[in-house]
């Protein structure tokens, strides 16, 4: 009975909505969705009258792929990871997006230049950046705080265990950065045997002190328990621990590893015009800056950085917590999905052989 009720209600809502202008946005749910509803959806509906239906998925690429296979597209805009955006674009599931259609920055800089490098793909536009960063427990290093990726590997000056994720993608680059390799040479290095050897040799210097983690909540917990004195993890998680829970952690932005979330539009989506409207609106300078009020992820436009204000608690300045803050970008390593599609399996085997050895 309940399901029938639910079904008829859904049908009624759908038919009602179909008569008005609407757009279906599939995103990740949780605090992230809240930030998008507040920063994008509400002002978008207020301004254009187009209703936004927010749909949550564990990974929006999965329903997108399923709808594409079934040739029955119901979503319009999807928020997905870079690797999925490239793959689905290669498979012909996405609309191509011309950067010239996107709004320019307030000072007139065209979108193609305003977006951070790598944020515009053939079929996708990045909305947020998130970083894998080093955090440390300030109570353990009073008077002598670490400040660089190299300090992470300096056990003598900064004693204590280190937390690292158990995969090659988010460990090898850090070792190379700490070894003095420039961020833009990381992937050239990792394409060669010598480069991988160099990274593993650097990791060898602290191998006995590493506590390996698997899930994103672990590094925060390891730091909080005092099991490690420094760990790498996702910047949003550390921000929560520091600001919402008041933990004595501090983030080292040197050598952060940056990933993006991308907006894409499904090919043959039911509302292509509204979808494009929404995408243009959501990725303009002001909206991207507004989103940072609700979550510690960085806007994908350079021009948004200056407009980022306070956290919703009204007293925490968000700028210094953004992975995209210009000061944090100078030594940032960008994720390279093409490189990892080619080398993930090979490097995972090398990495695990090294771990076991």
């Amino acid at each position: 009975m309940r399901s029938i009720l639910l079904l008829t209600t859904t049908l009624a809502v759908t038919t009602y909505a179909a008569s008005a202008q609407e757009v279906n946005v599939v995103s990740w749910g949780g605090a992230y969705e809240v930030s998008q509803v507040e920063a994008y959806n509400k002002p978008f509906t207020a301004e254009t009258g187009i209703k936004v239906n927010m749909i949550a998925a564990d990974n929006p690429a999965t329903p997108l792929k399923a709808q594409f296979e079934a040739k029955n597209i119901t979503g319009d805009v999807f928020d997905i990871e870079v690797s999925d955006a490239i793959r689905l674009c290669d498979e012909g599931a996405l609309l191509e997006i011309d950067p010239a259609d996107l709004p320019a920055a307030p000072d007139g800089t065209p979108a193609a230049e305003d977006f951070i490098d790598g944020a515009l793909l053939d079929c996708a536009v990045a909305n947020i950046f998130w970083g894998t960063v080093i955090a440390f427990d300030t109570t353990k290093f009073e008077g002598n705080a670490p400040s660089t990726a190299a300090d992470f590997f300096d056990i003598e000056t900064y004693p204590g265990k280190r937390g690292l994720p158990k995969n090659p993608k988010r460990t090898l680059y850090l070792a190379l950065i700490a070894d003095g390799v420039a961020p833009d040479e990381i992937y050239d290095k990792l394409s060669t045997d010598e480069g991988v050897e160099q990274a593993l040799a650097k990791l060898d210097t602290i191998k006995d002190e590493i506590v390996w983690w698997e899930a994103g909540a672990q590094p925060v917990q390891l730091l909080a328990d005092g099991e490690v004195t420094m760990a790498t993890g996702y910047n949003g998680r550390f921000f929560d621990a520091m600001v919402a829970e008041g933990r004595p952690f501090e983030i080292i932005w040197d050598g952060q590893y940056m990933d993006m979330d991308m907006f894409v539009i499904a090919k043959d989506s039911p509302n292509p015009e509204e979808a494009m409207e929404y995408l243009k609106f959501a990725t303009d300078t002001q909206r991207l800056a507004d989103q940072a009020k609700y979550i510690a992820y960085g806007p994908s436009r350079k021009s948004s950085a200056a407009l980022v204000g306070m956290y919703q608690d009204g007293k925490t300045e968000m700028g210094p917590h953004m992975p995209t803050n210009p000061e944090h970008m100078s030594t940032a390593v960008m994720d390279d999905p093409e490189f990892w599609a080619d080398h993930d399996a090979e490097l995972s085997e090398r990495f695990n052989a090294w771990l076991a050895g």
């Binding site: 265990k161 099991e227 080619d342 399996a345």
Partner: protein, 432 residues
Amino acid sequence: MANALDPHAAIATTASGAPDGPLRTADGKPLARALARSQARAKRRAFWLVLPLLAFILLTFAIPIGQMLQRSFYNAGFSDNMPQLSQWFAENPRGTDPDEAAWTALAQDLQASAEARTIGTVGTRINYDVPGTRSLFTSTGRQVRRGVEPPYQAALLEIDEKWGEPRLWSAMREASNPVTTNFYLASVDRTRNDQGEIVKVPERQQIYGTLFARTFWLSLLITATTFILGFPIAHLLATLPMRKSNLLMILVLLPFWTSLLVRTTSWMVLLQQQGVINDILVWLGLIGNSQRLQMIYNQTGTIIAMTHILLPFMVLPLYSVMRTINPSYVRAARSLGATSWTAFRRVYFPQTLPGLGAGALLVFILAVGYYITPALVGGSSGQLISNMIAMHMTDTLNWSMAAALASLLLGAVLILYWLYDKLVGIDNLKLG
């Protein structure tokens, strides 16, 4: 009363005479046939009863697992999408240098595959054997979609000179046949060189042999520790008066009912360097604050946590067997002059063997496939082969490789099962 369905009828017939010829039922039909018919009917009825379960197991278990394992030797990602080149490989033996016909086939297949948007699948298949080639296929695909002119050899080499590498052509030849042993070779740290000969992979990439050996060794060790810890508990449970043993039984079962993750996480809290046990040791002054023991995120952690988690699987079968052992046997042995040790060794222990066998087999097989606990507490030295299978399933998405590793694991367990049957006899197994 006497009818074909009543086996007692046959006995009546034999008893009443007719010593020669086949046994017959009361109504004169041959006994064997009557019996067979009645049994067939009963079997049919029984079959209908188990049919739902059978269908369920077949649909949800046997078929998916079969399909999964099939991937370990069958991967048509290349051959389906590159038909012309696969044809060329079939017609020309290994060692033939690619001629213009081969290059033409390659270029046309690439073009068709890029247009059909299947080029990613093709690249992924070759990337398994030659790392770094997925992007070669996708980027070349993007370019040939805009058009490519003969001569194709020059055109493709112009796009990327990697197309000339013998290793790539050797890998494409391997992949042109969907049936392949390459995934099994990789599972035992072997690969094929440019000439197609089987060679060991470079030492720094050898991982699976070590992990298989470690998995079996740790599983044996964990089976042994569960036995050492579980045997006295089971004995106590079996000999205590019912009221006390019930209480103890709940203590054994309570962790068994608790979520695996909760139990694993509790071990982290207890064992980590800033954890409860280290704190107590430091407080007692047994170790200094700087000498805290590393008991987790290594092999020790894996052994401790898995022993605890698998202990009930050893205790329960042992307990159920020990309950049935008549205490007067041991008393009789003692009264005949055996020492308590001899009585235990010669009389009591052999009677527990069916339970021990069942417990050991259960614990060992579960331990061999354990995944989440070693992933969380194993650190680098406590990783098992199942962690690599999980990695290939979820991270590298090389399901063929995961299937090959899984079927090797399955095969090894089946061989052990067979050995057990030969040495101890599976009929002696008693699960409870």
